[in-house]
């Protein structure tokens, strides 16, 4: 009876196969071939690509750099976003204006924004260094020195994605019931204790959500690096996705970049799952 019901699942399944399953399986197969610009095709080279990957220091450095960049920017975004949300949460003059204002960076196209920042950071033509010189700090080699260019990438990331944290945390704050705050007031808690005992615990779940979304997004960082520094100077701002892009799209080593991508995917899934569990345990205590 109703055997034709499976027919109606077909469109969905086809789309699933076409956009997820096939590319994934194809990538796995490609990663065991030596497909490159000279010898395109699906030959079989066994684990050769994975062996080469294991010894590819540039890949692991990029991954380490990515970890630092992600953790650093997301933590700063969370802190800043939370602070901004707390600022415009209660009665503040023109808080609607502020709320919209804080969201503008997020609405800008990443590439456009990176170009904008590249101009700002430009060491001889940009406006930032003259300002810094004016206030006595002195010019900074924003994009030509490895530490500073790493900081520059972080600044742009934080500037662009703090609004996202702000938005989620503000929504969380606005959805909180009023009674716990009244009770804290009656119990005689000051603002800091109220924040630690009432506000922060109640925002635990939404914090975990916001941080995880940002961690996933941030680990895919590409446009900012591409436009701002192209991974340079040297490889000092090169992240995993950018390195994979170089190997695959610039050097056209399809087989090797497939192996890089797969390894990267597995590492990300495992790490983020563990991070998610740890975050839930640390911040969402009452739902455990």
């Amino acid at each position: 009876m109703y055997r034709q019901k499976y027919l109606f699942l077909l469109p969905g399944l086809l789309v699933l196969v076409a956009i997820i399953l096939f590319p994934l399986l194809f990538t796995i197969r490609v990663s065991f071939s030596s497909w490159d610009v000279y010898n395109p095709g699906l030959n079989w080279v066994g684990g050769e690509n994975y062996g080469r990957l294991w010894e590819d220091a540039r890949y692991w450095e990029a991954l380490l750099r990515l970890t630092g960049l992600t953790v650093g920017t997301v933590l700063l975004q969370y802190t800043l976003g939370f602070a901004l949300a707390l600022l415009v949460w209660r009665e503040v003059v023109a808080r609607r204006l502020f709320r919209v204002l804080f969201l503008i960076p997020m609405m800008t196209t990443p590439v456009v924004m990176s170009v904008l920042w590249r101009t700002i950071f430009h060491e001889s033509l940009g406006p930032l260094n003259p300002i810094l010189e004016g206030i006595g700090i002195g010019a900074v080699p924003w994009l030509s020195q490895s530490t500073w260019s790493f900081i520059a990438v972080m600044i742009v990331e934080i500037w662009q994605w703090t609004p996202f944290m702000f938005l989620l945390l503000l929504a969380g704050l606005l959805s909180l019931p009023n009674e716990p705050f009244l009770a804290a007031k009656i119990d005689g808690a000051g603002p800091i204790r109220t924040f630690l005992s009432v506000t922060f615990p109640m925002l635990g779940a939404i914090s975990v959500g916001a941080i995880l979304i940002r961690l996933i997004e941030a680990s895919k960082i590409m446009e900012t690096v591409y436009v701002l520094t192209s991974g340079g100077p040297g490889t000092s701002t090169e992240t995993s996705s950018y390195y994979i892009y170089i190997r695959g799209m610039r050097d056209f080593q399809i087989g090797y970049s497939a192996a890089l991508s797969l390894t990267y995917l597995i590492i990300m899934i495992v790490t983020l799952t563990i991070v998610a569990k740890l975050l839930v345990r640390a911040l969402v205590r009452d739902q455990a």
Partner: protein, 347 residues
């Protein structure tokens, strides 16, 4: 513990109209009070003014003669239990109970002693190390109450519809606990509720409010016997008080077709007779004969809807064998008859 005085108190929100009309009241130390009225009648506004969460636009609040109108909530030494149980979710029961004392910098040994004592009294002792959000709603309400009781300087406990979200059988238990606490600790307690049953069983003095106005304040018996307005008569008592239109005949007011009659009071405006279904009897008083139109079973008693001379009223009758359609010979004692002009009690 304190006497609470509300001196010429009134509150208007931004738009200028009164949410709480001017009133003057004194609540004695250790008493139980209930603010009773429908949603939006101003009872929560009144409570928030007392607790200091809201600053009144007019008048003063005095605790034991001391003006606290400009004092912050934390400095007023009141405890409040809200409709939704409020607990600090990330803390244990013990930490929850200790919180007000920790905020006030009380020494740890003293905190431990107080928390243990209060938890013992409220029956929370065996949950002390459990996380507070694991407990049931009524236990959480007890924690809210406990946070008030741990402080020895509490002037009054304000209860903002604390029983609304509690299961019916636990409601009874919790109300009993509240009464006992009131007696043992001698705390002034103010209960806000829209449930007349809750108000009448809990409080010595019930303050009936409507449209931001205190309509009547008195003991449950007074409210039952002499409702100040038709609204109070309808709101308190189940079934509600009977109100029947009266007509003037010479110098007396009568209900046409019945024996109800009383002297004509001075003044002008439509007159209404009011009497309780419970006061209708069969032995003495003014004649109130009629035919049973409907009957509701209420255990040992029955409530009858009775038609007489074009009027309908209700009477609470002992478990008679009467049935719908029967003609009954009823009487109303003269002392039970009230007269209202423009819905306000005149006699």
């Amino acid at each position: 513990m304190a006497e609470i005085r509300l001196a010429n108190l009134a509150h208007a929100y931004g738009n200028g109209s009164y949410a709480l009309k001017p009133l003057d009241m004194t609540w004695r130390n250790g008493g139980t009070y209930a603010l009773l009225g429908p949603s939006g009648c101003g009872k929560s506004t009144m409570l928030n003014i007392i607790s200091g969460l809201l600053k009144p636009s007019e008048g003063r609040v005095l605790f034991d003669g001391q003006d606290v109108t400009d004092k912050d909530t934390g400095a007023r030494n009141i405890a409040q239990v809200f409709q939704v149980p409020v607990i600090y979710r990330s803390m244990t029961v013990a930490d929850n109970l200790a919180f007000p004392l920790v905020c006030r910098g009380v020494p740890a040994a003293r905190i431990k002693a107080r928390v243990t004592a209060v938890a013992e009294r409220l029956g929370l002792a065996r949950h002390l190390t459990a996380r507070a959000n694991r407990l049931t709603a009524d236990q959480k309400q007890l924690i809210s109450l406990g946070r008030g009781l741990v402080r020895e300087d509490v002037s009054a406990v304000l209860l903002d519809e604390p029983l609304t979200v509690i299961d019916p059988q636990m409601k009874f238990e919790l109300r009993k606990t509240l009464k006992e606490i009131n007696r043992e600790f001698g705390l002034t307690m103010v209960l806000v509720t829209h449930d007349q049953n809750e108000a009448l069983t809990f409080a010595d003095t019930v303050v009936v409010m409507n449209h931001g106005e205190v309509i009547q304040a008195g003991s449950p018996q007074e409210l039952f016997d002499r409702p100040a307005t038709a609204h109070v008569g309808t709101f308190i008592g189940s079934p509600a008080m009977n109100f029947l239109p009266a007509t003037v005949e010479g110098d007396r007011v009568v209900l046409a077709g019945t024996g109800l009659s009383s002297p004509l009071p001075p003044g002008s405006g439509p007159l209404t007779f009011g009497f309780r279904p419970e006061h209708v009897g069969t032995t003495e008083g003014m004649a109130l004969d009629g035919r049973i139109a409907r009957l509701w079973f209420e255990g040992a008693e029955q409530i009858a809807s009775i038609e007489t001379a074009g009027h309908v009223f209700r009477a609470r009758l002992p478990g008679t064998t009467a049935s719908v359609g029967d003609r009954l010979s009823l009487r109303l004692p003269i002392s039970a008859l009230r007269l209202y002009r423009d819905e306000r009690l005149v006699a």
